[in-house]
């Protein structure tokens, strides 16, 4: 067993663009925008970056392949750039690459950057992934979309716990209303209008039982981080140092979709990765110890079941916690304090580090109107793929020594 990542790597700078329909920007402009903020926050020279990791998911419809897009856009000094693609965990995977490189001692300072330019395809929603699922799956997988696949969770969750769909719809609506309220306070968020529960419940059906307001925004954006060791961070004059407490990734192995065990009501990967992350971070009781969480709320139902997979809400009790306001901005563990994928938006490759960015701002008391009181641990969570076949990544961040 390894010793884990806790407190071995510090974040010394971060940047994140405004997410949204950035019609006037290509991925190049977006990366430069995030990077400029990040390098000025880090207070280092570009030449000090020794290696970079680059997260992008649907490269076919935006940046193209390889690590070259940021190397060229940012005129990086001919260093190693590795592209990571792992569905919606692509950005957090880039972060993991950079963090592990520093932790290994191979490099002192590394960059992680994620970008996704989704609004150049000519239609709403995520690009069709028909040709991206591989030549074999392409011959038999249903004609699926992301909302459809995640919507399936609701049917199984409702059946397992005997909770009527109307009640689940209400809890899902509360999830979205809460994220809209948070997003309204965030100048970088894609969707900034508060909504009512009634509006959410009456929104047009996208994939039963998910309505339009149960779905996150599809956006353009970029986010990035510069990481180093806590010692180097100190030597650079950093006072408040945010360190990585845990990084865990878990991938489905096909059991969910082919073996008669999983009941369809939860994410087996999140269940496992979160338990490992708490162990790595030294967290015994997440419900008591976590200060804030940014989870992969691609759809409201995803956020709902994730509350249980993170071992914060008891099984079958997430709707109650949600309705009780446990995850509201004023609740015990605010969830999506920056608006979440729902309102901050979801440029896939940029989403992981956008979540980390919010944790970083909160821990450094730089979150302005959204600032929470004395946060200690923040957790971020990405879930890529489909409920029955997915990639989960989890990061826990906190102040150095916390």
């Amino acid at each position: 067993m390894g010793t884990g990542i806790k407190d071995k790597v510090a974040i010394i700078g971060m940047g994140c663009t405004r997410f949204g329909e950035r019609w006037d920007c290509g991925s190049e402009e977006l990366m430069v925008e995030a990077f400029q903020e990040c390098i000025s926050d880090a207070g280092i020279d570009k030449k000090q970056i020794e290696a970079a990791w680059f997260g992008s998911c649907l490269d076919e419809v935006n940046v193209g392949k390889s690590g070259l897009p940021p190397a060229i856009a940012l005129r990086l000094p001919k260093i190693g750039v590795t592209r990571t693609e792992n569905y919606c965990a692509s950005g957090t995977e880039a972060f993991r690459g950079a963090v592990y490189a520093v932790a290994s001692g191979a490099y002192d300072i590394c960059l992680a950057i994620g970008v996704e330019k989704l609004k150049d395809i000519g239609y709403a929603g995520l690009p069709d992934f028909g040709s991206g699922m591989g030549l074999t799956n392409q011959l038999w997988f249903p004609n699926m979309t992301a909302p459809g696949c995640f919507a399936m969770l609701a049917s199984a969750y409702s059946a397992k716990y005997g909770i009527p769909m109307e009640d689940i719809k209400k809890a899902m609506a509360h999830v979205s209303v809460k994220s809209h309220a948070n997003g309204a306070l965030n100048p970088k968020a894609h969707l900034r209008n508060p909504v009512t529960e009634e509006a959410v419940l009456n929104s047009p059906m996208v994939a039963y039982p998910l309505g339009l307001f149960d779905c996150c925004g599809v956006s353009d954006g970029s986010s990035c981080a510069i990481v180093t060791t806590p010692e180097i961070a100190k030597s650079l004059g950093k006072k408040d140092i945010v360190t990585v407490k845990a990084l865990q990734t878990a991938l489905s192995n096909g059991e969910e979709m082919s073996y008669n065990q999983w009941d369809g009501s939860y994410f087996t990967t999140t269940d496992k990765a979160s338990a490992l992350a708490y162990k790595e971070a030294g967290i015994k009781n997440p419900r008591e110890e976590l200060s804030m969480i940014e989870v992969h709320d691609c759809f409201s139902i995803t956020e709902l079941v994730t509350m249980e997979d993170l071992h914060i809400s008891e099984r079958g009790k997430a709707p109650k916690d949600i309705m009780d306001g446990f995850y509201d901005a004023t609740g015990k563990i605010p969830c999506q304090i920056d608006g979440g994928l729902k309102c901050f938006g979801h440029p896939i490759g940029a989403s992981g580090m956008r979540m980390i960015y919010e944790m970083y701002l909160q821990l450094l008391n730089r979150a302005d109107k959204r600032q929470l009181k004395d946060p200690r641990f923040g957790l971020t969570h990405n879930l890529g793929g489909f409920p029955f076949m997915n990639v989960c990544s989890i990061a826990i961040l906190g102040k150095h020594g916390a």
Binding site: I121, G122, Y123, G125, D128, G130, S131, L135, T136, Q138, L139, W140, F141, P142, N143, M144, T145, P147, G148, C149, A151, M152, L153, S155, A156, S158, A159, P204, M205, V206, A207, Y208, L210, G254, E255, M257, S258, Y259, N260, Q261, D263, G264, P387, F388
Partner: protein
């Protein structure tokens, strides 16, 4: 003795009332009101000749050893492929042995079904083949506001032929071939080009069928009164009755052409009517069958004592009983691609089908043959040679395992309005097999409101990809939720 050892039918769940067609389109062609009785069967948007033939073949082969089948003949004038053996896709779908089986497509005429049947029986008679499956199906595209649109329905029938457990003994056959062109469909054309109805009725059906029947009676020294049931298609009701009158057939002997129930199903129709006749036949009954089109085939069968104990499949009766009424003509023309509806940019993406992948996995994709682990006994539909059971993970220990006839139910589902679909919402989910195994699947022949977690489903071979750019059609199995009534 050789003859029919089993029969099966398939009539799509969807039916449209002809008066809806007439009400919508009679402003354009008032004459269609004349045929506006009853309903006609409509292939769902993901059904075609091949999928219906497979459905009829499965119905027919129930309880029979498919490994004994050594000939598969398919008949249709609307085969999905001009150069790819359609009957072989059918054979793979029902998991017949590749080695030792002869497959052949019979096409080019409305009597292709009866000709395939005669060929199958000849092969048995010669001793060359022991067990032949003959399936016929048609899905003819008709122009809007035409009599063809009123007369023609979609359907399929299948017969298993052999020498053991014969339920209807083959007596004899007689054929006339002559180039009477009631209509034709040139190569590459979508629609039939027809001639004047009066001529087709009087000089075609009205003369050629009686001539062929008379020829058969002369050859076999039989009389029309010998037959309990007389089966011949003719979508002109008056002509159908006129032929009976001419031949001295009583109303009791005359098998209904099912205009009010499903319409004329082309090359499948004589066989479909024969299946309907067998469903009510008694041991000892003699049945006369005729197929019409560029001449006429006449065959005679005699029901045996085995028919009494034959446990019938769903057949014609069972399929007619389960229906969903299509209340919209617009939906019908959309399914048949008679108008141009917009699937959006999302619907443009049609990656080509890798023929190498399809070849390696043909049993999986076409036959839904998964694996069953020899070590732990877990049935599974997977693509890695490593067992999915987390306690097992044995490598290379899979025996072939057919999922098509296994009981399954819905684990989770959705109805997706975003997915590009000809019939939104696209309903799909995961189905779990009671004996083990589960899979992702499109659902079909249902509305979203019909589906519930735990609902029983059966698996059906369906069209999943129509690649018009390259002329390819991709098939896979979909879940059909059981609908009572």
């Amino acid at each position: 003795m050789i003859g029919i050892t089993s029969y099966g039918g398939y009539i799509p769940r969807l039916r449209i009332e002809r008066k809806i067609i007439a009400k919508t389109m009679a402003w354009y062609q008032p004459v269609i009101f004349g045929a506006a009785k009853g309903e006609k069967s409509v292939a769902n948007w993901d059904e075609d000749t091949l999928t219906m033939a497979v459905a009829a073949a499965i119905d027919c082969a129930q309880g029979k050893d498919r490994k004994k089948v050594d000939a598969v003949y398919m008949a249709s004038t609307t085969m999905p492929f001009s150069d790819r053996l359609n009957s072989d896709i059918l054979a793979t779908a029902i998991n017949v042995n590749e080695e030792g089986t002869t497959c052949a497509d019979f096409t080019g005429s409305q009597k292709a079904g009866t000709t395939a049947l005669i060929s199958g029986l000849s092969a048995l008679k010669s001793g060359d083949k022991k067990c032949a499956l003959v399936a016929a199906a048609d899905t003819r595209k008709t122009k809007m506001a035409t009599m063809s649109e009123m007369y023609l329905g979609d359907g399929a029938a299948a017969l298993l032929l052999g020498g053991d457990d014969v339920i209807a003994e083959f007596i004899d056959s007689h054929s006339i071939n002559c180039d009477f062109i009631a209509h034709y469909r040139g190569a590459g054309k979508e629609f039939d080009y027809g001639w004047e109805e009066r001529w087709i009725r009087d000089e075609g059906f009205g003369k050629i069928i009686p001539q062929a029947v008379a020829g058969f009676l002369k050859k076999t020294k039989m009389a029309i009164g010998d037959f309990a049931k007389i089966v011949y298609p003719c979508y002109f009701a008056a002509t159908h009755n006129g032929i009976a009158k001419k031949l001295g057939i009583t109303p009791e002997q005359l098998q209904s052409p099912m205009h009010e129930l499903c319409g004329d199903t082309g090359a499948a129709h004589p066989l479909l009517m024969l299946v309907a006749a067998l469903e009510t036949a008694k041991p000892g009954d003699k049945i006369l069958l005729a197929g019409f089109g560029q001449g006429c085939d006449v065959l005679c069968f005699k029901a045996t004592d085995k028919l009494a104990s034959f446990k019938g499949p769903r057949g014609v009766k069972g399929h007619l009983a389960v229906k969903r009424v299509l209340t919209s003509y617009e939906k019908f023309i959309t399914f048949r691609q008679l108008g141009e509806s917009d699937l959006g940019i999302r619907g443009e993406v049609t990656p080509n089908t890798s023929l190498t992948v399809l070849w390696r996995n043909r049993k999986k994709f076409i036959g839904l043959v998964g694996g069953k682990c020899r070590k732990c006994g877990t049935p599974q539909f997977v693509f890695t040679p490593m067992c999915v059971n987390p306690e097992c993970n044995a490598v290379g220990e899979m025996d072939p395992y057919e999922f098509t006839d296994k009981k399954a139910s819905v684990l989770m589902y959705t109805g997706d309005m975003l997915a590009a679909s000809i019939d939104p919402p696209a309903v799909y989910g995961i189905v779990t097999f009671a004996d083990g195994g589960r899979m992702l699947a499109d659902f079909t022949d249902c509305a979203l409101d019909d589906v519930k977690v735990g609902l029983p489903v059966t698996m059906a071979f369906r069209l999943r990809l129509k690649d018009d750019m390259r002329g390819f059609r991709g098939y896979f199995w979909k879940a059909v939720p059981e609908i009572v009534g």
